[in-house]
């Protein structure tokens, strides 16, 4: 065959090929237009759906659509609370250690595994005590089955947050005893049986599709089908939303600021919660920071407001402790410091410190790096020279752990952010004495703090719990080892005709989405 070409024919043919791809008629044809299809983002493949061995996050989202739960989060004017799910007709805390439940009649597992029973609840929760998520079930002694659909969760000691942090959260998912046993006792990326409005189908690396479950007898969700597209980068997801290919996605601080300033028509933003707390930590045992006056001077020298404006575009809430907005015990001011560079200089002079050089370690993300640089400038203004050491997540997350080498001895300053569940208990758990060298990298201990931690767990009166957690944060701040920075929101941009439902910690609950 002879190749016949000319410049003119070549240019014409390539232009024609390009035009073919860009034909608007062809383009529109593949976009999801169905009124009952909701297009969302997942940040990665679903690896392990077994509640006992999951990595969390996206897997919890999948469980919420396909598995039963006894309780679910509710948002009230005062903050976060819980309510029984559709799966139960009764969920009551009889006393401090007994929670009675009655499952709704007529709910069945897919695959012919029969009805949802109290034995499934017993199996699901008692197996969790030996799982990777056993910490959430330490308080559970056993599940007493009193009837086919009734039973009691018996706790081994009063544990006030059990319903909020365990039953409402991913580990509280109920699995089908028969199906899981048949699967060998545990499973990975496919549910052996579902009991919810959706079934799940995965195309690895591309999307997870939640389709109507033919065996579901409960109320139909607002959207027939959920297309959860795997998009690892949040900024790529934002572009996909802008291109009209997603109906809802998480947004970064930058995008949130842009949307706050200029919200496009037909677009809304929903903030699920602000259950992340970020602070700058100081190693109280490091020779350069052993003097409380030096640590207090650093607390006074840092202008948190400029960090919130410069690194987070004003989209995050200022922090005054580790208890996040909407939770019992949140503080609205600091007790021991405020931004006061003059006082910082006085304290350094009192301590006889001059020419202090420190290193601040941080994850190498954009916002954290900017935060570290602002801190660097703030401390330079009071005569402290700071070097910024960015780290990848691998090195970062073990730098204060004694089990991972000797880096903890060199730690001076660092930026840290933890996420938490909607109860103050978990946030305080990382700072008790036994956590020194594990997650308490500031390396202080307090008998009063440890005692209050135990009291906070057992206390059921909200006002008294609030007092306990406020006092615990005062103790932390008094050590001089913390500069509270912010609480980042879990924010979602979405079409205005959609009402988003998300857990306070950010996991979407597709079955509870509504049409506006």
């Amino acid at each position: 065959m002879k190749l016949r070409t000319s410049r003119r024919s070549f240019l014409a043919s390539t232009a024609a090929l390009g035009a073919f791809g860009m034909m608007p008629g062809l383009t529109g044809a593949s976009f999801a237009q169905g009124a009952s299809v909701l297009r969302l983002r997942l940040d990665g493949d679903l690896e392990i759906l077994d509640p006992g061995y999951m990595t969390g996050g996206t897997e919890i989202e999948a469980q919420k659509q396909c598995l039963p739960f006894l309780a679910q989060y509710a948002t009230t004017e005062d903050g976060f609370s819980w309510e029984p799910t559709y799966y139960v007709t009764r969920l009551e805390q009889r006393d401090a250690t007994h929670i009675d439940f009655e499952l709704r009649e007529g709910l069945v597992w897919s695959g012919g595994y029969g009805p949802l029973t109290a034995n499934d609840v017993r199996f699901s929760y008692e197996r969790m005590k030996d799982s990777d998520w056993s910490g959430y079930f330490e308080a559970l002694d056993h599940v007493e089955v009193t009837g086919e659909r009734t039973g009691t969760l018996v706790l081994n000691a009063p544990f006030a947050p059990f319903i909020m942090i365990t039953l409402c959260h991913g580990p509280g998912a109920i699995v089908c005893e028969a199906a899981v046993t048949e699967a060998g006792g545990r499973y990975t990326n496919q549910f052996p049986a579902v009991c919810g409005p959706y079934t799940m189908d995965q195309e690895p690396g591309q999307r997870v599709t939640f389709s109507p479950n033919p065996d579901w007898t409960g109320p139909a969700p607002a959207f027939d089908t959920i297309q959860a597209n795997i998009i690892s980068e949040v900024r790529a997801a934002e572009l996909a939303f802008d291109a009209g290919e997603l109906d809802c996605t998480e947004v970064s601080a930058d995008a949130l600021a842009r949307l706050d300033a200029d919200m496009p028509e037909g677009t809304s933003v929903t903030v699920a919660g602000e259950l992340q707390y970020m602070w700058m930590g100081m190693n109280t045992e490091h020779p350069k920071l052993q003097d409380i006056r030096v640590r207090r001077a650093i607390q006074h020298a840092i202008d948190v407001d400029s960090i919130l404006a410069g690194a987070y575009s004003g989209t995050t809430a200022k922090s005054h402790g580790i208890i996040c907005p909407g939770l019992i015990g949140q503080r609205d001011s600091t007790t021991y410091y405020s931004y006061d560079p003059a006082r910082a200089r006085e304290l350094l002079a009192e301590a006889g410190v001059a020419g202090l050089e420190l290193t601040i370690r941080t994850l190498n993300t954009q916002e954290r790096m900017l935060t570290a640089q602002i801190i660097q400038a703030n401390l330079a203004a009071v005569g402290v020279t700071v070097s910024v050491l960015p780290l990848d997540s691998g090195s970062y997350w073990e730098m204060g752990q004694e089990s991972a080498g000797d880096t903890w001895q060199d730690l001076e300053l660092w930026l840290m952010r933890f996420g938490t569940t909607p109860d103050p208990y978990e946030a305080t758990s990382w700072f008790v004495s036994e956590q020194v060298g594990v997650w308490n990298w500031e390396r202080w201990t307090s008998e009063e703090f440890d005692r209050l931690y135990d009291e906070g767990i057992a206390e059921t009166d909200p006002d008294r719990r609030a007092d306990i957690y406020i006092r615990m944060q005062e103790i932390m701040e008094e050590t001089g080892a913390y500069v509270w920075i912010n609480h980042e929101p879990e924010a979602f941009v979405h079409r205005s005709e959609i009402v988003v439902n998300a857990a306070p910690s950010g996991e979407l609950d597709y079955r509870r989405f509504e049409r506006a």
Binding site: L3, R4, T5, S6, R7, F10, T14, L17, G21, M22, M23, P24, L26, T27, A29, S30, F31, G44, D45, E47, I48, T55, G56, D132, S134, G135, T188, N189, E203, P204, G205, Q206, R207, N229, I230, I231, S232, E233, A236, A237, L239, A240, D242, A243, G244, E245, L246, D392, S393, G394, S395, W397, E398, A404, W439
Partner: protein, 314 residues
């Protein structure tokens, strides 16, 4: 030829072993305990111990290397420690997407770049040559991730002519092709420049050869002289370049795969490195290396097929 092929296959095996060895060393030189990173900062000691055992992390590194090579020879690339799925299956699921992307990206670059290079060489110093020169250097200089973002913003976000994310509906070839256009454009653009420059330089050299002058003197049509005689010889170094480029693109499509949220080998390896998911990293790199070697081998064989002088020297 048969001996040559055997020699190349032996060399390919040695290269793969070397790559895997370097990979093993690098993975263990990266700071951070693999088990802690993979399972997250709050994993229990029991979970970390189970992970280390499953990954053979408690074995000496030389033994881990031998275990991996031994299994790989039987087609077993191990098991993903999270999903417990076969690595061969996981890599296989992604491989087709990457090959399609690389194939289309390099394909359109060849379709445009080679004729542009020929036309520029046929009319040196003409306006076409000058425009081609400027455009070639420009496209080479712009990073492909930037092209990806611009293309996405213009054609998907602003004009909404083309889809922004994903690989298209399974089974719908037209939809899948449409999802390929922007990423293939992004990764292929710089190769248009490379190929145009390469072909132009080779063609200019060949066009000065005596046999080309003879062909012209015999009155052959200019098109036949260019495409039938000159290009056949001038294309040889370009084939090598295309082979290396094709192989390199297999793992370097990661930016396009992340920006356009497409499944693929590059993104799979990238995510696995971040999660210290060793079996996926090792399996993915092994397959990418094997493909690279295969493509380079094919390009060498093509050159031998085109050029009798090379064939006779084998």
């Amino acid at each position: 030829m048969g001996f040559y092929l055997l020699k190349r296959l032996g060399l390919a095996f040695a290269v793969i072993c070397a790559v895997v060895l370097v990979l093993f060393s690098l993975l263990y030189l990266i700071p951070g305990d693999p088990a802690t990173i993979a399972l997250g900062p709050r994993a229990s000691p029991e979970a970390i111990a189970r992970y280390a055992e499953r990954m053979h992390l408690d074995e000496p590194i030389w033994r881990q290397f031998l275990i991996f090579i031994g299994n790989a020879l039987t087609g077993d690339l191990g098991v993903d420690v999270f999903s417990e799925r076969s690595v061969t299956t996981i890599v296989g699921e992604r491989l087709g997407f990457t090959l399609a992307l690389v194939g289309l990206g390099m394909g359109w670059a060849m379709t445009l770049g080679i004729p542009l290079g020929c036309l520029a060489a046929v009319r040196p110093n003409s306006w076409l040559d000058r425009v081609t020169g400027v455009l070639s250097v420009s496209t080479i200089a712009v990073p492909s991730f930037l092209v990806s973002i611009w293309a996405l913003l213009i054609f998907a976000v602003h004009l909404r002519w083309l889809p922004a994310i994903g690989a298209g509906e399974p089974g719908d070839v037209v939809d899948q092709l449409r999802h390929l256009i922007l990423p293939a454009f992004a990764i292929g653009l710089s190769w248009v420049g490379y190929l145009a420059r390469m072909v132009r330089a080779s063609m200019l050299e060949v066009m000065g050869e005596t046999y080309i002058r003879s062909a012209r003197a015999f009155g052959l049509a200019p098109r036949r002289v260019v495409f039938g005689y000159a290009l056949r010889v001038a294309i040889l170094p370009t084939i090598t370049l295309i082979g290396m480029g094709f192989g390199g693109l297999i793992s370097s499509t990661v930016f396009a795969e992340i920006i356009f949220a497409r499944p693929g080998i590059g993104k799979l390896i990238f995510d696995a490195v971040m999660a210290r998911n060793f079996p996926i990293v090792q399996g993915g790199v092994l397959v990418a290396t094997g493909l690279y070697i295969l493509v380079v081998l094919i390009s060498d064989l093509l050159i031998a097929w085109f050029d009798p002088r090379v064939r006779e020297s084998l």
